[in-house]
Amino acid sequence: MTAGTTATAAGPATATAHAGPSRGRPARVWVEQIMGMPVSVHVRGRDAEFGPDVDTAVAQAFSHLRRVDAVFSAWRPDSDLRRVRRGELVESAAHPWLAEVRALCERAEHSTVGLFSATAGSGGSRVYDPTGLVKGWAVEGAARHLALASGIAFCVNAGGDILAGTSRGAPDLGPWRIGVEDPRRRTRIAATVELVDGAVATSGNAARGAHIRDPRTGERVVRDGSATVTGPSLLWADIWATATFVDPSAALQALRRVDAAYRCLVL
Protein backbone atom coordinates (compact mmCIF):
# COMPACT_ATOMS: atom_id res chain seq x y z
CA MET A 1 0.00 0.00 0.00
CA THR A 2 2.31 2.63 -1.19
CA ALA A 3 0.01 5.34 -2.24
CA GLY A 4 -1.50 7.31 0.47
CA THR A 5 -4.71 7.20 2.32
CA THR A 6 -6.03 4.07 3.86
CA ALA A 7 -9.41 4.02 5.40
CA THR A 8 -11.21 1.26 7.17
CA ALA A 9 -14.91 0.96 6.94
CA ALA A 10 -15.44 0.87 10.67
CA GLY A 11 -16.02 4.55 11.00
CA PRO A 12 -19.30 6.37 10.76
CA ALA A 13 -20.89 6.95 7.44
CA THR A 14 -19.54 10.07 5.91
CA ALA A 15 -21.56 10.14 2.76
CA THR A 16 -24.31 12.57 2.35
CA ALA A 17 -27.13 11.36 0.23
CA HIS A 18 -28.29 14.63 -1.07
CA ALA A 19 -30.49 15.58 -3.89
CA GLY A 20 -28.21 17.43 -6.23
CA PRO A 21 -29.18 20.01 -8.77
CA SER A 22 -29.66 17.18 -11.21
CA ARG A 23 -32.76 15.97 -9.43
CA GLY A 24 -35.93 16.83 -11.14
CA ARG A 25 -34.25 17.64 -14.43
CA PRO A 26 -36.07 16.36 -17.46
CA ALA A 27 -34.48 13.09 -18.41
CA ARG A 28 -34.89 10.43 -21.02
CA VAL A 29 -33.61 6.93 -21.08
CA TRP A 30 -32.96 4.39 -23.82
CA VAL A 31 -32.00 0.77 -23.33
CA GLU A 32 -30.82 -1.71 -25.91
CA GLN A 33 -29.33 -5.15 -25.68
CA ILE A 34 -26.00 -5.05 -27.49
CA MET A 35 -22.82 -7.10 -27.19
CA GLY A 36 -24.56 -9.50 -24.87
CA MET A 37 -25.54 -6.88 -22.36
CA PRO A 38 -28.18 -4.24 -21.94
CA VAL A 39 -26.75 -0.79 -22.52
CA SER A 40 -28.67 2.13 -21.10
CA VAL A 41 -28.26 5.72 -22.13
CA HIS A 42 -29.57 8.44 -19.83
CA VAL A 43 -29.91 11.98 -21.16
CA ARG A 44 -30.71 15.15 -19.27
CA GLY A 45 -31.57 18.50 -20.72
CA ARG A 46 -32.66 21.90 -19.64
CA ASP A 47 -36.15 21.52 -20.99
CA ALA A 48 -38.60 18.70 -21.12
CA GLU A 49 -38.49 18.87 -24.88
CA PHE A 50 -35.47 17.22 -26.40
CA GLY A 51 -34.67 18.13 -29.94
CA PRO A 52 -34.72 15.55 -32.72
CA ASP A 53 -30.94 15.69 -32.76
CA VAL A 54 -30.96 13.88 -29.42
CA ASP A 55 -32.86 10.95 -30.89
CA THR A 56 -30.51 10.91 -33.83
CA ALA A 57 -27.43 10.99 -31.62
CA VAL A 58 -28.71 8.17 -29.44
CA ALA A 59 -29.58 6.05 -32.46
CA GLN A 60 -26.11 6.64 -33.85
CA ALA A 61 -24.54 5.75 -30.52
CA PHE A 62 -26.36 2.42 -30.44
CA SER A 63 -25.61 1.69 -34.04
CA HIS A 64 -21.94 2.34 -33.35
CA LEU A 65 -22.04 -0.33 -30.65
CA ARG A 66 -23.74 -2.75 -33.00
CA ARG A 67 -21.09 -2.15 -35.65
CA VAL A 68 -18.37 -2.79 -33.11
CA ASP A 69 -20.09 -6.01 -32.15
CA ALA A 70 -20.26 -7.11 -35.76
CA VAL A 71 -16.52 -6.60 -36.10
CA PHE A 72 -15.30 -7.86 -32.71
CA SER A 73 -17.83 -10.39 -31.53
CA ALA A 74 -16.15 -13.45 -30.10
CA TRP A 75 -19.39 -15.39 -30.57
CA ARG A 76 -20.52 -14.48 -34.05
CA PRO A 77 -18.75 -16.71 -36.57
CA ASP A 78 -18.87 -14.00 -39.23
CA SER A 79 -17.19 -11.28 -37.17
CA ASP A 80 -13.93 -9.93 -38.53
CA LEU A 81 -12.19 -11.10 -35.39
CA ARG A 82 -13.36 -14.69 -35.84
CA ARG A 83 -12.52 -14.70 -39.53
CA VAL A 84 -9.02 -13.42 -38.82
CA ARG A 85 -8.63 -16.10 -36.17
CA ARG A 86 -9.64 -18.78 -38.62
CA GLY A 87 -7.20 -17.45 -41.18
CA GLU A 88 -9.92 -16.51 -43.65
CA LEU A 89 -9.06 -12.84 -43.47
CA VAL A 90 -5.76 -11.07 -43.06
CA GLU A 91 -5.88 -8.29 -40.53
CA SER A 92 -4.71 -5.68 -43.01
CA ALA A 93 -7.73 -6.44 -45.17
CA ALA A 94 -10.16 -6.53 -42.24
CA HIS A 95 -11.95 -3.56 -40.71
CA PRO A 96 -9.37 -0.93 -39.69
CA TRP A 97 -10.76 -1.05 -36.17
CA LEU A 98 -8.92 -4.34 -35.71
CA ALA A 99 -5.57 -2.68 -36.14
CA GLU A 100 -6.60 0.21 -33.91
CA VAL A 101 -7.72 -2.12 -31.14
CA ARG A 102 -4.67 -4.32 -31.44
CA ALA A 103 -2.46 -1.26 -31.02
CA LEU A 104 -4.45 -0.22 -27.97
CA CYS A 105 -4.12 -3.71 -26.51
CA GLU A 106 -0.38 -3.54 -26.92
CA ARG A 107 -0.30 -0.14 -25.30
CA ALA A 108 -2.46 -1.38 -22.43
CA GLU A 109 -0.25 -4.39 -21.88
CA HIS A 110 2.79 -2.17 -21.82
CA SER A 111 1.30 0.52 -19.56
CA THR A 112 0.01 -2.00 -17.06
CA VAL A 113 3.32 -3.87 -17.01
CA GLY A 114 1.55 -6.94 -18.27
CA LEU A 115 -1.27 -6.94 -15.73
CA PHE A 116 -3.74 -6.47 -18.55
CA SER A 117 -3.38 -8.63 -21.63
CA ALA A 118 -5.54 -9.38 -24.62
CA THR A 119 -3.93 -12.77 -24.93
CA ALA A 120 -6.19 -15.03 -22.97
CA GLY A 121 -5.66 -18.55 -21.74
CA SER A 122 -2.61 -20.23 -20.38
CA GLY A 123 0.31 -22.22 -21.68
CA GLY A 124 0.16 -23.10 -25.33
CA SER A 125 -3.52 -22.34 -25.79
CA ARG A 126 -3.27 -18.58 -25.87
CA VAL A 127 -5.75 -16.79 -28.08
CA TYR A 128 -5.94 -13.13 -28.97
CA ASP A 129 -9.12 -11.87 -27.34
CA PRO A 130 -9.51 -8.09 -27.10
CA THR A 131 -12.99 -8.32 -25.53
CA GLY A 132 -11.77 -6.87 -22.24
CA LEU A 133 -10.75 -3.69 -23.98
CA VAL A 134 -13.34 -3.43 -26.72
CA LYS A 135 -16.26 -2.65 -24.43
CA GLY A 136 -14.78 0.53 -23.00
CA TRP A 137 -13.42 1.56 -26.37
CA ALA A 138 -16.81 1.01 -28.01
CA VAL A 139 -18.71 3.02 -25.41
CA GLU A 140 -16.30 5.89 -25.88
CA GLY A 141 -16.96 5.80 -29.59
CA ALA A 142 -20.69 5.78 -28.95
CA ALA A 143 -20.39 8.72 -26.58
CA ARG A 144 -18.81 10.81 -29.31
CA HIS A 145 -22.14 10.67 -31.10
CA LEU A 146 -24.01 11.75 -27.98
CA ALA A 147 -21.68 14.69 -27.55
CA LEU A 148 -22.94 16.07 -30.87
CA ALA A 149 -26.49 16.60 -29.66
CA SER A 150 -27.06 20.10 -28.42
CA GLY A 151 -27.23 21.08 -24.79
CA ILE A 152 -27.42 17.73 -23.04
CA ALA A 153 -25.71 15.74 -20.32
CA PHE A 154 -25.54 12.01 -20.88
CA CYS A 155 -24.54 8.89 -19.00
CA VAL A 156 -24.06 5.45 -20.51
CA ASN A 157 -24.09 2.28 -18.41
CA ALA A 158 -22.74 -0.77 -20.20
CA GLY A 159 -22.94 -3.70 -17.83
CA GLY A 160 -21.80 -1.76 -14.81
CA ASP A 161 -19.15 0.27 -16.57
CA ILE A 162 -20.19 3.86 -16.86
CA LEU A 163 -19.29 6.87 -18.97
CA ALA A 164 -20.78 10.33 -18.48
CA GLY A 165 -20.36 13.41 -20.59
CA THR A 166 -21.83 16.66 -21.80
CA SER A 167 -22.37 18.09 -25.22
CA ARG A 168 -21.45 21.54 -26.39
CA GLY A 169 -23.57 24.31 -25.00
CA ALA A 170 -24.91 22.20 -22.20
CA PRO A 171 -25.99 24.17 -19.15
CA ASP A 172 -24.99 22.96 -15.71
CA LEU A 173 -27.17 19.90 -15.39
CA GLY A 174 -25.52 18.54 -12.29
CA PRO A 175 -23.44 15.43 -11.82
CA TRP A 176 -24.53 11.84 -12.16
CA ARG A 177 -24.28 9.99 -8.90
CA ILE A 178 -22.75 6.58 -9.40
CA GLY A 179 -22.94 3.97 -6.68
CA VAL A 180 -20.17 1.41 -6.40
CA GLU A 181 -21.51 -1.79 -4.99
CA ASP A 182 -19.83 -3.42 -2.05
CA PRO A 183 -18.71 -6.79 -3.47
CA ARG A 184 -18.92 -8.57 -0.11
CA ARG A 185 -22.16 -7.12 1.08
CA ARG A 186 -23.90 -6.26 -2.05
CA THR A 187 -26.84 -4.93 -0.13
CA ARG A 188 -24.75 -1.87 0.19
CA ILE A 189 -23.34 0.83 -1.93
CA ALA A 190 -19.76 1.01 -0.75
CA ALA A 191 -18.96 4.32 -2.34
CA THR A 192 -20.41 6.95 -4.54
CA VAL A 193 -18.80 8.94 -7.30
CA GLU A 194 -20.17 12.06 -8.87
CA LEU A 195 -19.47 12.42 -12.53
CA VAL A 196 -20.07 15.18 -15.01
CA ASP A 197 -17.52 14.08 -17.58
CA GLY A 198 -15.73 10.86 -16.85
CA ALA A 199 -15.86 7.15 -16.32
CA VAL A 200 -16.24 4.51 -13.63
CA ALA A 201 -15.33 0.88 -14.23
CA THR A 202 -15.40 -2.06 -11.84
CA SER A 203 -13.74 -5.46 -12.10
CA GLY A 204 -14.20 -8.37 -9.77
CA ASN A 205 -15.26 -11.92 -9.24
CA ALA A 206 -18.39 -11.14 -7.26
CA ALA A 207 -20.83 -11.95 -10.03
CA ARG A 208 -19.43 -15.02 -11.70
CA GLY A 209 -16.62 -16.57 -9.76
CA ALA A 210 -12.96 -16.55 -10.63
CA HIS A 211 -12.84 -15.69 -14.30
CA ILE A 212 -10.09 -13.08 -14.43
CA ARG A 213 -6.64 -14.45 -15.14
CA ASP A 214 -3.31 -13.04 -14.16
CA PRO A 215 -1.64 -12.70 -17.56
CA ARG A 216 1.77 -13.13 -15.99
CA THR A 217 1.00 -16.66 -14.87
CA GLY A 218 -2.13 -17.61 -16.78
CA GLU A 219 -3.69 -18.55 -13.44
CA ARG A 220 -7.12 -17.43 -12.37
CA VAL A 221 -7.20 -14.67 -9.80
CA VAL A 222 -8.85 -16.31 -6.82
CA ARG A 223 -10.02 -13.75 -4.36
CA ASP A 224 -13.10 -11.79 -3.54
CA GLY A 225 -13.51 -8.08 -3.60
CA SER A 226 -13.41 -5.74 -6.53
CA ALA A 227 -11.43 -2.94 -8.04
CA THR A 228 -13.06 0.25 -9.23
CA VAL A 229 -11.26 2.89 -11.22
CA THR A 230 -12.53 6.33 -12.10
CA GLY A 231 -10.98 8.77 -14.51
CA PRO A 232 -11.53 10.62 -17.75
CA SER A 233 -11.59 7.68 -20.15
CA LEU A 234 -13.71 4.54 -19.85
CA LEU A 235 -11.30 2.63 -22.05
CA TRP A 236 -8.49 3.19 -19.58
CA ALA A 237 -10.59 3.06 -16.43
CA ASP A 238 -11.73 -0.40 -17.52
CA ILE A 239 -8.21 -1.56 -18.33
CA TRP A 240 -6.89 -0.30 -15.01
CA ALA A 241 -9.78 -1.80 -13.07
CA THR A 242 -8.87 -5.22 -14.46
CA ALA A 243 -5.17 -4.67 -13.82
CA THR A 244 -5.85 -3.45 -10.30
CA PHE A 245 -7.97 -6.46 -9.52
CA VAL A 246 -5.18 -8.75 -10.70
CA ASP A 247 -2.51 -7.12 -8.56
CA PRO A 248 -3.48 -3.98 -6.66
CA SER A 249 -0.09 -2.79 -5.54
CA ALA A 250 1.70 -3.45 -8.81
CA ALA A 251 -1.12 -1.84 -10.79
CA LEU A 252 -1.23 1.21 -8.59
CA GLN A 253 2.48 1.70 -8.91
CA ALA A 254 2.26 1.41 -12.67
CA LEU A 255 -0.77 3.66 -12.88
CA ARG A 256 0.91 6.37 -10.89
CA ARG A 257 3.74 6.37 -13.35
CA VAL A 258 1.62 6.71 -16.45
CA ASP A 259 -1.45 8.71 -15.54
CA ALA A 260 -2.30 10.84 -12.55
CA ALA A 261 -5.88 11.43 -13.53
CA TYR A 262 -7.22 8.08 -12.32
CA ARG A 263 -8.26 6.97 -8.89
CA CYS A 264 -8.74 3.48 -7.60
CA LEU A 265 -10.96 2.01 -4.98
CA VAL A 266 -10.02 -1.48 -3.91
CA LEU A 267 -12.73 -3.19 -1.95
Binding site: A9, A13, T14, H42, G160, R186, A201, T202
Partner: protein, 161 residues
Protein backbone atom coordinates in the same frame (compact mmCIF):
# COMPACT_ATOMS: atom_id res chain seq x y z
CA UNK B 1 -13.98 -8.16 9.22
CA UNK B 2 -14.57 -6.02 6.28
CA UNK B 3 -11.78 -3.99 4.96
CA UNK B 4 -11.97 -1.19 2.55
CA UNK B 5 -8.74 0.16 1.30
CA UNK B 6 -8.79 3.34 -0.57
CA UNK B 7 -5.95 4.56 -2.64
CA UNK B 8 -5.91 8.07 -3.79
CA UNK B 9 -3.52 8.09 -6.62
CA UNK B 10 -3.36 11.68 -7.51
CA UNK B 11 -3.50 14.84 -5.60
CA UNK B 12 -3.34 17.10 -8.57
CA UNK B 13 -6.01 15.92 -10.87
CA UNK B 14 -8.26 17.91 -13.05
CA UNK B 15 -11.11 15.77 -11.91
CA UNK B 16 -12.88 16.56 -8.74
CA UNK B 17 -14.05 13.11 -7.81
CA UNK B 18 -14.69 12.05 -4.31
CA UNK B 19 -15.25 8.62 -2.96
CA UNK B 20 -17.37 8.47 0.08
CA UNK B 21 -18.33 5.43 2.07
CA UNK B 22 -21.66 4.19 3.16
CA UNK B 23 -20.75 2.11 6.11
CA UNK B 24 -24.22 2.35 7.43
CA UNK B 25 -27.44 2.76 5.63
CA UNK B 26 -28.51 5.40 8.08
CA UNK B 27 -27.79 8.14 5.65
CA UNK B 28 -29.55 11.37 5.09
CA UNK B 29 -31.74 9.98 2.38
CA UNK B 30 -34.54 8.97 4.64
CA UNK B 31 -36.20 5.57 4.74
CA UNK B 32 -32.86 4.03 5.48
CA UNK B 33 -34.00 1.03 7.43
CA UNK B 34 -32.28 -2.21 6.54
CA UNK B 35 -34.02 -3.62 3.57
CA UNK B 36 -35.52 -7.04 3.58
CA UNK B 37 -35.21 -8.54 0.15
CA UNK B 38 -38.63 -9.44 -1.05
CA UNK B 39 -38.68 -12.17 -3.60
CA UNK B 40 -41.17 -14.57 -5.02
CA UNK B 41 -44.79 -13.93 -5.70
CA UNK B 42 -45.50 -10.27 -5.83
CA UNK B 43 -49.14 -9.79 -5.20
CA UNK B 44 -49.45 -6.30 -6.53
CA UNK B 45 -48.45 -6.76 -10.08
CA UNK B 46 -51.23 -4.64 -11.41
CA UNK B 47 -50.32 -1.07 -10.81
CA UNK B 48 -50.06 -0.63 -7.16
CA UNK B 49 -52.65 -0.62 -4.42
CA UNK B 50 -49.83 -0.42 -1.94
CA UNK B 51 -47.90 -3.15 -3.72
CA UNK B 52 -48.93 -5.69 -1.14
CA UNK B 53 -45.59 -6.07 0.51
CA UNK B 54 -45.41 -3.59 3.32
CA UNK B 55 -46.39 -6.24 5.78
CA UNK B 56 -42.91 -7.62 5.90
CA UNK B 57 -41.13 -4.35 5.61
CA UNK B 58 -42.94 -2.47 8.28
CA UNK B 59 -39.82 -0.78 9.42
CA UNK B 60 -39.69 1.24 6.29
CA UNK B 61 -41.51 4.45 5.85
CA UNK B 62 -44.10 3.01 3.59
CA UNK B 63 -46.71 3.16 6.31
CA UNK B 64 -47.81 6.45 4.85
CA UNK B 65 -48.66 5.08 1.47
CA UNK B 66 -52.24 4.32 2.31
CA UNK B 67 -53.39 7.72 1.22
CA UNK B 68 -51.19 8.27 -1.77
CA UNK B 69 -52.51 6.81 -4.96
CA UNK B 70 -49.22 7.46 -6.68
CA UNK B 71 -47.88 3.96 -6.27
CA UNK B 72 -46.97 2.42 -9.58
CA UNK B 73 -45.39 -0.82 -10.55
CA UNK B 74 -43.00 -1.29 -13.40
CA UNK B 75 -41.72 -4.46 -14.92
CA UNK B 76 -38.17 -4.58 -16.19
CA UNK B 77 -37.42 -6.29 -19.43
CA UNK B 78 -36.50 -9.91 -19.05
CA UNK B 79 -32.81 -10.08 -19.66
CA UNK B 80 -31.03 -13.16 -20.87
CA UNK B 81 -28.05 -14.04 -18.80
CA UNK B 82 -25.96 -17.07 -19.50
CA UNK B 83 -27.93 -18.79 -16.78
CA UNK B 84 -31.34 -17.89 -18.10
CA UNK B 85 -33.82 -15.04 -18.02
CA UNK B 86 -33.90 -12.61 -15.14
CA UNK B 87 -36.56 -10.01 -14.69
CA UNK B 88 -37.36 -7.59 -11.93
CA UNK B 89 -40.27 -5.45 -10.95
CA UNK B 90 -40.12 -2.28 -8.95
CA UNK B 91 -42.77 -0.27 -7.23
CA UNK B 92 -42.38 3.46 -7.18
CA UNK B 93 -44.19 5.73 -4.82
CA UNK B 94 -43.59 9.42 -4.81
CA UNK B 95 -40.45 9.06 -6.87
CA UNK B 96 -38.91 6.54 -4.47
CA UNK B 97 -38.36 2.87 -5.12
CA UNK B 98 -40.29 1.04 -2.45
CA UNK B 99 -40.09 -2.55 -3.45
CA UNK B 100 -38.00 -4.50 -5.88
CA UNK B 101 -39.24 -7.98 -6.66
CA UNK B 102 -37.69 -10.68 -8.72
CA UNK B 103 -40.22 -11.88 -11.24
CA UNK B 104 -38.31 -14.65 -12.88
CA UNK B 105 -35.08 -16.23 -11.99
CA UNK B 106 -33.34 -19.19 -13.54
CA UNK B 107 -33.31 -22.00 -11.03
CA UNK B 108 -32.94 -24.93 -13.35
CA UNK B 109 -30.03 -26.65 -11.74
CA UNK B 110 -27.76 -26.64 -8.78
CA UNK B 111 -25.36 -24.25 -10.40
CA UNK B 112 -28.12 -21.73 -10.98
CA UNK B 113 -29.29 -22.02 -7.44
CA UNK B 114 -25.84 -21.34 -6.15
CA UNK B 115 -25.56 -18.28 -8.27
CA UNK B 116 -28.95 -16.93 -7.53
CA UNK B 117 -29.00 -17.61 -3.85
CA UNK B 118 -26.09 -15.26 -3.82
CA UNK B 119 -26.94 -12.77 -6.47
CA UNK B 120 -30.64 -12.29 -6.36
CA UNK B 121 -31.53 -11.42 -2.78
CA UNK B 122 -28.56 -9.16 -2.58
CA UNK B 123 -29.43 -7.40 -5.74
CA UNK B 124 -32.95 -6.94 -4.55
CA UNK B 125 -31.77 -5.18 -1.49
CA UNK B 126 -29.28 -3.24 -3.45
CA UNK B 127 -31.97 -1.96 -5.71
CA UNK B 128 -33.71 -0.34 -2.83
CA UNK B 129 -30.52 0.70 -1.20
CA UNK B 130 -29.43 2.33 -4.39
CA UNK B 131 -32.46 4.54 -4.25
CA UNK B 132 -31.95 5.46 -0.64
CA UNK B 133 -28.44 6.47 -1.59
CA UNK B 134 -29.90 8.67 -4.30
CA UNK B 135 -27.83 7.37 -7.15
CA UNK B 136 -28.36 7.32 -10.87
CA UNK B 137 -26.36 4.25 -11.85
CA UNK B 138 -24.59 1.33 -10.25
CA UNK B 139 -21.07 0.24 -11.10
CA UNK B 140 -20.26 -3.32 -10.17
CA UNK B 141 -19.19 -6.72 -11.30
CA UNK B 142 -20.73 -7.78 -14.56
CA UNK B 143 -22.59 -10.77 -15.95
CA UNK B 144 -25.29 -12.23 -13.70
CA UNK B 145 -25.57 -8.97 -11.93
CA UNK B 146 -25.14 -7.25 -15.22
CA UNK B 147 -28.25 -8.87 -16.53
CA UNK B 148 -30.03 -8.26 -13.32
CA UNK B 149 -28.99 -4.72 -12.77
CA UNK B 150 -29.76 -3.81 -16.27
CA UNK B 151 -33.19 -5.23 -15.92
CA UNK B 152 -33.70 -3.07 -12.89
CA UNK B 153 -32.23 -0.20 -14.75
CA UNK B 154 -34.71 -0.77 -17.47
CA UNK B 155 -37.54 -0.74 -14.94
CA UNK B 156 -36.25 2.51 -13.55
CA UNK B 157 -36.12 3.86 -17.05
CA UNK B 158 -39.75 3.11 -17.55
CA UNK B 159 -40.54 4.78 -14.28
CA UNK B 160 -38.72 7.85 -15.53
CA UNK B 161 -37.02 8.35 -12.23
Amino acid sequence: MRRITLWFLSTSTALVLLFSYHTSTAGAGGSAAPVVAVSGASSGTDNGAGSGTDSDSGSRTSGSDSSSASSQTYDGDAVQTRWGPVQVQITVEGGQIRVADVLQVPMANHHDQQINSRAVPILNAEAVDAQSADIDMVSGATDTSEGYLSSLQSAIDKAGL
